[in-house]
Chain length 253, copies 2
DNA sequence: ATAAAGGATGACGTAACGTGAATGTCAATA
DNA sequence: TATTGACATTCACGTTACGTCATCCTTTAT
């Protein structure tokens, strides 16, 4: 059986360019050249190509393959051994890399976690501070001056306008809350408006808004007497209602 | 702290060519160029280079590193994830290769084993043939004509001179054996000379001499009545003595 | 007869530098 | 002060294993 270059290429699943290149570097010469200058390959060449591709599979470079195939006394066993060691080394290197990346990713996730945690704590402290400003000494006595001062510092970055807008939003929420509770339905338009406004208010100081965090905060309102007092002061049962409205809100958005 | 190109190169353990290349592809520009056209790097550049090298460690290509470093909103976590998957894939590929090589090596060792086994069988047959020539019909009856003929063919490659030399060695061994036995000591000089000569004789027809094979052959002499008869004919207890001498010989050589 | 398919030979491009060659600059020494 | 050696600069070619044109020739099918 004789093969033209493209027949052989298809047979072995390589490109014709590859075969011409192998010819060029004397790795695989055609059996003969016909009268039109076409490369013609025979069975020997097919076998040799199979051998070449076998070594290539093993990531042996062509130069080495050339040595292997041209030197009959070439110690194939030793060559394989060497290549084997290289591959194992390479695998070890990869394992190292993979481990490093795993650590890095874990570390970064940890940082994000920590940083979110930190932000959350700071945020909580800030709310405490605000409440404190409104309700005075009794809270300060409970949580100490240091915590409050530290949290104040963390949020000093805000501009006057931002702060004013934030205040406005806060007041709008307090205005809206009794009206929403009056509907008795957390899914009502006005209740959902309330939740939306709360989100707006929240994103003002919380850079990375997420539904989970929003829901968590809503739950925290109910669980923490200080916040409960703040919202319940506007209307009785206001905190629970706000929480329910928020939970419904995040499911629909 | 400012660094010239070679200072930074040494610090980061890269070549100056690498730094010039990074400059060329805008991956790492020097902080400034001094009046003589020298590249001057500062602390920022050191840090950036560390980052670059970190990614390089992870086998990220320079083009991607450039994107990562130039785009501050680049999602590092996702990038690492992607790269991580690639590395794992690559490791899987390597595992495949390693497994294939292991199989191949085992297979080839198997072939060598088999071929050695075959040679051993053939060798044994040859000795039988020689004995047969000396002791005639009774052995031929035991082992059949076919085996003998087949083994004869296998060893026809030997030249006249080789064969003569081999015969001479064989006779020398038979001459030496009674004298060695007379000393009563397998560690004696003459016994060890005997063993050495036996090795010489053996390597004549056995291309791949090994201590283990030599010892194995010695044991076989004692276990196989035909060989035992051959050596014991020269001197009583000669076979066992030869075996002991050989065992001692291979330990000292 | 003509067109499509397949063959051949250049020759450039790739990634990340290594390795000169030719030339300029700086600090120290005879 | 002149020189030397270390260090700097910019070309520019080489490396691997082909991919991808461009240009031209041969075979096969219609």
């Amino acid at each position: 059986m004789e093969y033209t270059i493209s027949k052989l290429a298809k047979l072995a699943n390589v490109s014709t360019r590859t075969l011409r290149y192998y010819d060029e570097i004397n790795l695989l010469k055609p059996a003969r050249i016909n009268s039109s200058g076409y490369r013609i390959y025979g069975q020997n060449e097919v076998d040799r190509l199979q051998q070449i591709l076998f070594f290539k599979e093993l990531d042996v470079d062509l130069d080495t393959i050339l040595s292997i195939m041209n030197n009959p006394n070439f110690d194939k066993q030793t060559a394989l051994q060497n290549h084997y060691s290289q591959l194992v080394d390479e695998r070890n290197r990869l394992n190292q890399l993979i481990e490093t990346i795993e650590k890095t990713m874990k570390h970064e996730r940890g940082e994000i976690q920590m940083s979110n945690q930190e932000k959350f704590e700071a945020f909580k402290n800030k709310l405490v501070t605000e409440n404190e400003e409104k309700y005075g000494e009794e809270i300060r006595g409970k949580y100490g001056v240091q915590v409050v001062d530290a949290s104040n510092k963390k949020f000093k970055g805000m501009s006057e306008e931002d702060y004013a807008a934030l205040e406005k939003l806060g007041n709008e929420i307090l205005d809206l809350l009794p009206k929403a509770v009056a509907t008795g339905d957390p899914t009502s338009d006005i209740a959902q408006q309330l939740a939306a406004k709360h989100k707006e208010w929240l994103t003002f100081t919380w850079p990375s808004y997420s539904k989970e965090a929003h829901a968590g905060l809503a739950d925290m309102y109910v669980a923490d007497e200080r916040f409960k007092a703040y919202y319940d002061k506007a209307v009785d049962g206001g905190t629970e209602f706000l929480r329910d409205a928020i939970h419904i809100f995040i499911k629909g958005n």
